[in-house]
Subunit: 109 residues, 2 copies
DNA sequence: CCTATATTCAACACATCAGTTGATCAAGGG
DNA sequence: CCCTTGATCAACTGATGTGTTGAATATAGG
């Protein structure tokens, strides 16, 4: 499933921050609230709250409601869209390299 | 092969820009110089030159010398490191989802 | 109802980024 | 040796991002 350019902007930029990547890692082990996500970091909860908003706007997480808590959940399909984008160009490059090697071997004979 | 945090910062941030992603796409079809990479965009070559420096610092491309030209080459291994990072957490999340479904089915009986 | 907890909003400071223009450096070709 | 071409450096501007503090909102629970 294709993703538009703005969505890729937001998703890749979101991953370009060590705090947000650590949050992704934690969320892969299960849902977590703002407070739980904030715990490992020496920053305020407001700052954490905004990191979460960045991840949500990027489509990388969704949020549910549980009383006064707003647990975050990782969205595997969004991650998959990113690897698909990257793989397209990696695979094309690798195919091109193999074709070049082929030519070099042929010439050498 | 693991990648350190700063390298992930630089690489993901580099991909968070549509101009740089378009450059990646072009480079997957073959090496290109600054001038060739600048051609599709309505920005100055100095700006393109700096985008290239960002991609190089991120390890996503390397540069060679060909007379006065400095062709850029995509580095597939760097792209692979990114998909590996993402996949680790996507797969963990999918495994967790499957375990939850399993539990739900068991409880329903 | 009142209070504590979880989260968010608003306004501000500071740093980084993407773009510009103008000057500079490096390599090739007449 | 000059001149052109490819690329980069330096300084500046405006926009965006990340953090802070302080106030506000919403829900739970006695």
């Amino acid at each position: 499933m294709p993703v538009d350019d703005d969505q890729l902007d937001r998703a890749f930029t979101a991953l370009g921050d060590p705090v947000r990547r650590a949050m992704i890692a934690q969320l892969s082990r299960g849902p977590a609230t703002v407070n739980e996500l904030a715990e490992p970091f020496p920053i305020t909860k407001q700052a954490v709250s905004r990191h979460i908003q960045v991840l949500e706007a990027a489509g990388l997480i969704t949020r549910t409601r549980d009383g006064q808590r707003r647990p975050c959940h990782l969205v595997p399909a969004a991650l998959e869209a990113l690897t698909s984008w990257i793989d397209e160009y990696r695979l094309e490059t690798e195919r091109r390299f193999r074709r070049m090697e082929e030519v070099l071997r042929t010439v050498k004979e």
